[in-house]
Symmetry: C3
Subunit: 315 residues, 3 copies
Amino acid sequence: MTENNIIIRRIWIGIKSVSTGVGQVMFQQSAITGLIFLCGIFWGSYECGTPQVAWGALAGTIAATLAAFPVNTGCSEGRSGLWGFNGTLVGCAFPTFFAPTVFMWCSLVLCAVLSTWVRAGMNNVLGKFHINSLTFPFVLLTWIFLLASRVMDSLIPLNAAAPVSSPDGFSMASLAIYWLKGISQVFLINSWITGILFLIGLAVCSRMAAAWAMAGSAIGIAIAFLFGADASGIENGLFGFSPVLTAIAVGCVFNKPGLRSAIWTIFAVITTVFMQAATNAFLSTWELPALTAPFCVTTWMFLLPACISNGKFCK
Amino acid sequence: MTENNIIIRRIWIGIKSVSTGVGQVMFQQSAITGLIFLCGIFWGSYECGTPQVAWGALAGTIAATLAAFPVNTGCSEGRSGLWGFNGTLVGCAFPTFFAPTVFMWCSLVLCAVLSTWVRAGMNNVLGKFHINSLTFPFVLLTWIFLLASRVMDSLIPLNAAAPVSSPDGFSMASLAIYWLKGISQVFLINSWITGILFLIGLAVCSRMAAAWAMAGSAIGIAIAFLFGADASGIENGLFGFSPVLTAIAVGCVFNKPGLRSAIWTIFAVITTVFMQAATNAFLSTWELPALTAPFCVTTWMFLLPACISNGKFCK
Amino acid sequence: MTENNIIIRRIWIGIKSVSTGVGQVMFQQSAITGLIFLCGIFWGSYECGTPQVAWGALAGTIAATLAAFPVNTGCSEGRSGLWGFNGTLVGCAFPTFFAPTVFMWCSLVLCAVLSTWVRAGMNNVLGKFHINSLTFPFVLLTWIFLLASRVMDSLIPLNAAAPVSSPDGFSMASLAIYWLKGISQVFLINSWITGILFLIGLAVCSRMAAAWAMAGSAIGIAIAFLFGADASGIENGLFGFSPVLTAIAVGCVFNKPGLRSAIWTIFAVITTVFMQAATNAFLSTWELPALTAPFCVTTWMFLLPACISNGKFCK
């Protein structure tokens, strides 16, 4: 192989790692899935008039992937896309919550880099208990920069216009839209078309994951509606995205699919909705968003007892 | 043995496990003690005009005990009552803090079930450090549902009428009443007669535990009074219940009784009072009750250094 | 050796342990360094008109050192000054935040004693992940007593007059003063002369540590200024002290000095500034000071991935 070929091959591996990284946000180790997710992000962010979100996602994934080299977490992890997915979410979040200044872009890259290092550190800790950090490095670091922006004038928080209740109310068609938005909100995108693209991306790699994503968003809306959560939150998919991730994680990533694990997963998804409501109320003190914290905490809660004690639930 | 006898025997074991579960709230592995505690709960809740608290305690203990089967934490734990005690407290707390609607009862059962699973998970983590989850699963989950109720209209928080200072002030007789209420508040009951019943229940199983409960509540009142804590809190036993639990746990459950461990326990009990005040101030932001968190945190604080390093305090 | 000589020798070891304890606040195992630090504390606290801070530091270190005997954490730790340093900081903090009443002095001694026990417990936990508790026992306990003072009238919080922006602004001379105050604020002292004394103390034991302290405070000011943090905070060294500690810890205590670890340390120091801003915003809800929490959390963050995974950064 010539020198040139080696460089081209390395770039090709890099591109695949980044694309797989986007797929790993929903636990799919597939560059094709990552590419479809990326299409969904670009569509949604241009539709919402915030193209910087899509470019942020790309920049964040690349920065996070490159940041893995100095900490040596193992190259197989990198090829599986596990270096980049926290960076993807950081890249979606920063242009959503901050005005697009040069300070925002510097912080975005720094935070994406840190997400890889915090992930390595958290996994060293949580690995002792047979769980991993999920998307929590993204959550933790984004909270830190959002809090910092309260006392640092160079980071300008965007006053997210409170989403208004749609006049459609709860018709069959609008329910379908809220349900698809629950899936698109995993990447902080508010678009039902993006939701369809994400479902296609999931199905390409795992039809079981697509099915659990659909079930997760539906159960999320149902419980939130039943227990009287705020309508605007339901309509914008904000009670859907964490249950979607919990459903995929508990239903078909960390447990073998089956009747027992399906019942277990439904309990986990229902619990995620209460966790979402609680996190919203807790963080309202600082006007912070819950991000995917409800998913992380609930998934840990449902992995710790079953998988460690004797594995009966895992087989 | 006939088929019928086996069923009857199983039911009998179940009843004993549930009753022992109530006893384990104060670390007593005794069905008789549990039964006396349950009498105290029924007396106190009917006296206060909130009978649903007693029935909630019963329902919570049963739900939590049944929830242990799918996670397989070991049947000896079940017979020792360790499956149910978090459920007992969930069952006391929900009807105290929420209006008695069908949503409250559904949440109560869900939360009691979750308490057993969270306990199994937390013990898998904390066991590595030779401590256990104590009543923290109850604390954590009750906080989550209380926070959720802020944004979910179907869970209606009861606006606990602020307890008023009694006109008796600090006479000898009224001090005795506050002291007994400190013991009854372990189960969120505000009744000195219940306090006496709880002491009897403790003494039946362990006179040492009864003695430490009495000492804990007394030290709690003394330190709270000395450092100028709010009178209404003192008068309703709210500075007593966590010190009571710390005293029993550190004084005669996790350490062998003796002079050295007695001095250690007195430090732990005093620290619990400051922890109680700090937790009250911290949680006032969300108007959340401290529950038994001050006991859990302080007990961990006093178990971690002594028991792991070289066990000199434990012998 | 006569009986008398043994007693004198023991007292001498005790004095050295206490003095080394003061040095260990900045990771220096040297009684001389501790003595120079103590001079700095006395100078600064008398200069600021709060002599009780210096006497508190002395009392806290002695109490914390004596408290180690019952928990048996190993006598070599004691001779290294590791028993006392949390107590030093407790002793600086209490007279800074509370009015000098008898209740304050009792709480100071209790809290200093507890700091040694909490350190022993936290190290038992964190040791499993190859990190240690740093100054977090001091941070945690001081927060608890500050929170407790909100509901306990006997602990009177001092309403720290909000530090005003100096009219000098950002001239070269004033920048040097802010930079030195960043170093003195490690012990909660607001005096540039004390900052110089602390640098001398560091250089006596380790010139590398002194260099990193200078770099840490400078980077702290630069990033805080660049990202628009509040001027009064910068001018009083409040964005300097945590970066100073991070720089020493990550730069030359837990990693071997070198180019790779120097780059790693600069990332850590920059991250500490954002962590400081975030902690300030988070704690403003309860009007609590950040203390050295930003240093602890950021240092853990940068020690966990590098040192555990394969140690490549540590050599």
